[in-house]
Each structure stands twice: as C-alpha cells, then as structure tokens.
C-alpha cells in the first residue's frame, strides 16, 4: 500500500504518526483561531476596568480572575494571543524574506558580496538574540510594527546562513547551468529556478523559528519593550503579575503559561515537520 503513495502523501503519513507533532499542530491551529476570533470569544472587554473587583481570584464572572485594575484576565489572555501570533508570524516571514535574499545573493555571486554579507551575519550573530533585540528595540522604539521589524532583523542572519549554505550546495547543479546557457541572467535564475527548489527547506526552518520569535516578543514585553499598555500582551501581563505575585499569583502564572503553551506548540510542530523532511532520519 505504501508503495503506491506519492512522496507528499508519505510525508503526511509519517507526520501524522508522530503524536507530539500532531498535538503541536492542533494547539497551534487552536491558538490561531482564538487569536482571530478574539472579539467574539472573549467574555469581557480586555480594557474594561472594574475597580470594584480588583485582584479577585477565579469568580463566575471572571474565570481566571482579575488584575490590578479589575480587568478580566481571561479576556486579556485571549486578546494577548493576537499580539504574540501576529508578531511571531510576521517577523519570521520578514526574516525569511530578507535573510533568504541576502543568503541567495551571497551564495550565488560569491566574491566580494559573499564575504561582506557573511561577515555581516557573523557580526550580528555575535550577540545573543535577546540582547540584539533589546538594542534594536531601544533604537527603534516599541510598537507593533517596530517589534516585527526588530525580531525580523534578529532572525535574518539565520535565514541568510541557511540560504547561503543551500546555494553553495546547488549552484553547480545542472538546471542552473542549463538556465545560464539558455541566456538567463542572475536574478532570473535565482527567482525562477533556485527559489522554488529551496522553499521546502526554508519553510522547515521557518516553522522552527516561530517559537523563537514568540519567545523574543514575550521577553521584550516582559522587560517593558513590547507593545505598550494598555494593550494586553502576555509578556506585559506577566510583568504586571510579578508586582502582585505574592497576593495574586494567578495573573503571572496564567499569562506565562500561555507563552509556554504557544512556544511549546510551535516547537512540537516544527520538530515534527523537520523529522518528516530530514532525509537523514528517513528509514532510521
């Protein structure tokens, strides 16, 4: 039976056999739906303050309690998912686009462009991600767009290295030589011939770094460099939660837990995708 399946069907079958990966995928899809449906799902307005019920632990009205301003924690967590997922997704896409472009140019043309670009990535990767992100956010300012830019920039060198490595491996392949013989110029070859062949690897890498991106956003928000209050973000909420940790631990615990679950889900999913597409593991 397996012999009759196409490679894609085989990959899907292998993927679905991996329960962790499937679980990760299910949770990830759930998170996306929560984020999209926030205005409809959320029982309260996340910004609505109710001074009468400040710091209340679980009540019928407020399933996860209220925070220091009387705002419903559950609703804020639901709305917080929007920020995390938007930044997580958009920054990975940005990093992928920028990094792949840089890496492909470096790998294909070689020479001066290659060494400058790869040196630049070396310098950027000299710093721990978080510290680089802190520095760039401090320079750009903290807003949704800027955070997407910042994390995208931080992720760029990784994609650049990946694309560069792949280019080195395939630039001598026959279809490249054939295209060049037919008279195609550099950019055309890169876009129409090479790019479609490497999108698979890129997507696998991308899926692994969504979790990293969400983590960076949460870290920045926790320091105070994320999307500014009163917009609820999971990092913001954890930070506020720490101030009242002794009296009202649930705020920090649940918002932090959301971050953990999100990162976990995308990591499980990413691992599963990688296991399925990594040729070394097939048949292991």
């Amino acid at each position: 039976m397996a012999a009759g399946l196409s490679p894609r069907q085989q990959m899907w079958a292998a993927f679905t056999r991996n329960r962790t990966a499937v679980a990760g995928g299910v949770i990830a899809v759930l998170l996306v739906r929560v984020a999209v449906g926030a205005p409809w799902i959320s029982p309260h307005d996340p910004l609505e303050q109710d001074p009468g019920t400040r710091l209340a632990e679980r009540t019928a009205q407020h399933w996860l309690g209220t925070d220091d301003f009387g705002r419903d924690v559950f609703s804020r967590i639901i709305w917080g998912s929007r920020v995390s997922l938007v930044i997580g997704g958009a920054s990975v896409v940005l990093g992928m686009v920028l990094g792949t472009a840089m890496g492909m140019i470096a790998g294909y043309y070689g020479g001066k462009p290659e060494s400058t670009i790869m040196r630049a990535t070396d310098v950027m990767m000299c710093f721990p991600d978080l510290i680089l992100a802190i520095a760039v956010t401090a320079a750009l300012g903290a807003s949704l767009i800027n955070l997407i830019l910042t994390i995208g920039i931080v992720l760029t060198p990784r994609f650049a290295r990946l694309a560069h490595g792949v280019l080195l491996a395939i630039r001598r392949n026959e279809y490249v030589l054939a295209a060049r013989t037919a008279g195609a110029g550099g950019p055309r070859i890169l876009f129409r011939h090479i790019l479609p062949n490497i999108t698979g690897d890129l997507l696998v890498a991308g899926s692994l770094w969504v979790g990293e991106s969400i983590r960076l956003e949460a870290n920045l928000a926790f320091i105070g460099l994320g999307v500014q209050p009163p917009t609820p973000t999971w990092g913001n909420m954890t930070r506020d939660g720490i101030e009242v940790l002794i009296n009202a631990p649930w705020i920090a615990v649940y918002s932090g837990l959301s971050i953990l679950v999100a990162i976990l889900a995308f990591n499980m999913l990413g691992d599963g995708i990688r296991d399925v597409t990594d040729p070394k593991l097939r048949g292991a």
Binding site: T20, R119, D122, V123, C126, F127, P128, D129, L130, I131, I134, A135, V136, A138, A139, G141, G211, R215, A218, N219, F222, I223, G224, L225, T238, I242, L245, I246, P249, A252, V253, G256, L257, I259, L260, I263, L264, N267, M268, D271
Partner: protein, 313 residues
C-alpha cells in the same frame, strides 16, 4: 596550541571592532536627547547646551567616535548620565553577580545534561529516553523568566526556603549562595535541556557508526565501547553546540536577573535603557560583546583540545 590561541584572539579583534562601532551607533541612534532627558523638559536652552558640551555631544559624530575608541583603550568607560558614577565602577559591581549566575548555569547544564542524555541514547524508547525528550522539549520552550517565576513562587514564597529577590552579599558565602541558588537553577535547567538533547542525538549518531560495530566485534565490553569510543566522539559536537547555547544563555540570564532582581549586568542594561543612560548602555553592551567573544574563544580552544583530527600548527 598557544600560538593557535593567540591567532584566534587576533582574529576576533576585527569583529569586536565592528561590534563596538555598531554599539556606538546604536547608542547614538536612540531617540531623545540625553541632555534633555537628564535635565528635564523645562530646562533652559543654555543649560541643555552646556550639558551637551560637557557630555561631548556637540562635536561632530566622527570625533565622538574617535573619543569613544580612545576612552575604551584607556579603560575609561565614561560616566553614567543619570547617577554620575563612573560606569566602570558600576560594571565592576554588577559583573560578579552575572558571572556567577552564568557560569553556574552552564556548569549545571553540562554536569546534569550529559549524564542524563547518555542513557537516553543507549536505551532507546525506554522510560529514560521518553523522560529526556519531554524534559528537553519543555526546557527549550519555557521562557526563562517564567521558569524563574514558578521556582520563585514555589520555593521562595510558598516554602520560604530562599530569599525572594536580590543578589545578597558576595563576601558572605551563605548569603551569596542562598541568593544564587534559584536563579542558577532556573537558568541551569534550561541549559540542561539544551545539552541533554544534544547529547542524546549526538551519541545516537555516534553509536550508529561502523567503528562502533567493529569495536563490539573485537570483543570489547559494552561499557568500554560506550565510554571510550562512542562518547569521546559524541562529545565534539556537544562542546561545539554547547558553546553556542552558552551564548544564548547569556541572553536568557538578563531575564533571570530581572525576575529575581539580581543586580547584575542585565539589570544594569535594562535600567540604562529605561533611563536613556546611553553611556552605561554602551559600555554594558561592549562588555557583553567581550564576554561572548571570550566564550566563543574558550569553546574553540576546548574543541581543539578534544578533537584529535584538528591539527593546529
């Protein structure tokens, strides 16, 4: 070996140079005028100008850059724009707290992570293997500050075994260790997760090699094959990636320091950003760059020591 070390150090200087320039530019690009930030919005123009003069901000950018480099060479890291203390002194006070934390976490990670990863590779699909995989996944996914918060909630607040915040007195060993334990544990567990995952996969790869089969065929006991051959070879990528993870850990240590209010470099840096204290920020970032460079250098040296294939003449 020594000549290799010297060569590596010389090689890292140009990169460090570029990094310093980047730090300088970033600090200058930060929004807001530091003189205005220091004096307040209602200060007179003359007062602001006088302060800018004193801060050396009125000269052209390239001159500021030259002064920046000259100062660095002389070990002058400037004066904090907010507290007016010399930055070098602030860093000196904060550095031990950060170094303690980072090195204990890295050490913990290797000491616990490697032994945890070995049985997972040897006995596939056993309970140990399963535990290892779950543990690594969790450790990789948990945000550093969240683990700190959870540990703090359980051990400091509920059980009252450890102090909640602070760094303690460095000179007093008991106080030092009591304040170090939870932060180091939270970072250490994360490092353990990285290391143990790496150990497991590296050892698995190593055990699949032909020479292992040869060793068994020669009649060597399983223990000898494992420790003398497979593990030795598996250690190489573990060390290489361990160095990479250690650098990542430095980033996470900033979060841990904030959660536990530990007065290290991380707290210093974040405080500097909040207060627009560019001099301090700049110098702390330089320090981080140096620490990362040192860590990378150490990784390379250890790597060279344990990989017999590499011959550095």
């Amino acid at each position: 070996m020594v000549s290799y070390a010297v060569r590596r150090i010389l090689q890292s200087i140009p990169i460090l140079f570029v990094v310093l320039t980047l730090v300088f530019l970033i600090a200058r690009v930060l929004p807001g005028d530091p003189a205005v930030a220091a004096l307040g919005d209602y200060a007179s123009k003359d007062a602001v100008n006088a302060l800018r003069e004193r801060m050396g901000l009125n000269v052209p950018l390239w001159m500021q850059y030259v002064r920046f480099l000259a100062d660095l060479c002389r070990g002058n890291l400037g004066t904090s724009m907010i507290t007016h203390y010399p930055v070098a002194a602030q860093i000196q006070k904060a550095l031990p707290y950060s170094l303690e934390l980072t090195f204990s976490a890295i050490g913990f990670g290797f000491l616990i992570g490697i032994p945890l990863g070995i049985p997972a590779a040897v006995r596939r699909n056993s309970f140990v293997d399963y535990f290892n995989r779950v543990f690594s996944l969790m450790g990789l996914s948990v945000p550093a500050f969240y683990l700190g918060i959870l540990l703090m909630l359980l051990f400091s607040i509920q059980l009252k075994w450890f102090p909640v915040v602070g760094g303690g007195e460095l000179s007093n060993l008991s106080s030092n260790l009591r304040h170090l334990f939870l932060p180091a544990l939270s970072l250490g567990l994360i490092m353990t997760a990285y290391v143990t995952r790496m150990t497991r996969s590296s050892l698995l790869n190593s055990l699949r090699e032909d020479y292992i089969r040869t060793a068994h065929a020669k009649g060597l006991t399983a223990r000898v094959v494992l420790f003398k051959h497979a593990l030795r070879n598996a250690l190489i990528p573990i060390v290489a990636l361990g160095g990479v993870y250690a650098v990542v850990l430095i980033g996470s240590s900033v979060m841990t320091e904030i959660v536990f209010s530990r007065p290290g470099l991380g707290s210093l840096m974040v405080g500097a950003i909040k207060q627009r204290d560019y001099t301090t920020l700049q110098s702390v970032m330089v320090f981080y760059a140096v620490i990362v460079a040192v860590l990378n250098l150490m990784t390379d040296l250890v790597y060279e020591l344990i990989d017999p294939r590499i011959q550095y003449r």
